[in-house]
Symmetry: C2
Subunit: 191 residues, 2 copies
């Protein structure tokens, strides 16, 4: 109803993340999922706060689109004092990452690209997330029960550790889950 | 596992809200639901920012507890320039409330009471929520499809209007859903 500009367009979300799919569904928009593995390398010259937008654009440009398709791609990075925390490779790395986030404020950046054959827009949204001091017990409990190996920064805000550990956020909550949904809505209305 | 202090205690959540039940479940705590209708009047002398805590305490004290029971009660208020926005009685009131929230920052306050026969603690948590300018179309669409008549301030942050309309929050997101879950966790550990 809201997206008169998108009538006759086929929206594609290029993400396997059930959280992103749920968020986009929440807009009341019909869409399909198409995913593709891309090489997530980026040039060293890019500032860490631009990496998410760079990767979103790279993902979008890896798809061959037909006339009526609009693709949405995104990438989320976790930045602590401007250094990127990736997905942890193992328990020790997850533990170390969560110990670094404990008692501190970090930034979550989601970069988004919306692309058709005619145009492309790219934007980033930043949210500050503050963890309380996490005990070793809490960190170990979380890693054991939630296996956050697919998560940048080793945590999901919508999981147990987010419930017990996140004291406050500043910015868009859904951005931390993987899509800055109110901004995406606005950008889609204007696309 | 985390709540050694609560072993042999029966936790009761006094809330019908599925959101609050889901949040408390997220802590990994077993609990039962017991609810009771109380008169939600409060003295005029109370500051609006203390009303949620007052009502949480009033609810908790309306239950007769046994030795091993701990009850959790809560109340959430929406404050715009320190005036309380209640649940809307009808479409017109919901529309007017959302028009007042549009383009502005308001406060959501959840007051919580944790009570056993031995002790009682009460606390409040405040979160700032900023709405973008909402169009009349958006407000009408939301009211029609989501019927927010059971919601203080006429909106649920986890619903469509929260997705498209909330530009940013400052504080605890779950507090806006109805329970300041990280603070509640901490208070339960210390209870």
């Amino acid at each position: 109803m809201m997206f008169n500009n998108l009538t006759n367009k086929k929206i594609i979300l290029a993400s396997k993340s059930p959280r992103r799919q749920e968020l986009l569904k929440g807009l009341g928009l019909s869409f399909k999922i198409k995913t593709k593995e891309i090489n997530e390398d980026f040039p060293n010259s890019i500032d860490n706060s631009d990496v998410a937008a760079f990767l979103a654009k790279k993902k979008a440009e890896s798809f061959a689109l037909s006339n009526d398709e609009i693709i949405i791609t995104s990438d989320t990075t976790v930045l602590l004092t401007n250094r990127i925390l990736n997905k942890p490779q193992n328990t020790e790395e997850a533990l170390r990452m969560l110990q670094r986030l404990s008692g501190k404020t970090h930034e979550v950046c989601t970069g988004v690209c919306i692309k058709s054959i005619e145009k492309e827009i790219i934007f980033s949204e930043f949210t500050s997330v503050t963890f309380k001091l996490l005990s070793l017990d809490e960190i170990e409990y979380y890693i054991k029960h939630f296996q956050p190996y697919d998560k940048a920064g080793s945590y999901g805000i919508q999981e147990w550790i987010g419930f017990i550990g996140v004291e406050k956020i500043e910015g868009c909550y859904y951005n931390v889950m993987g899509l800055p949904i109110s901004k995406l809505y606005q950008k889609l209305l204007e696309f």
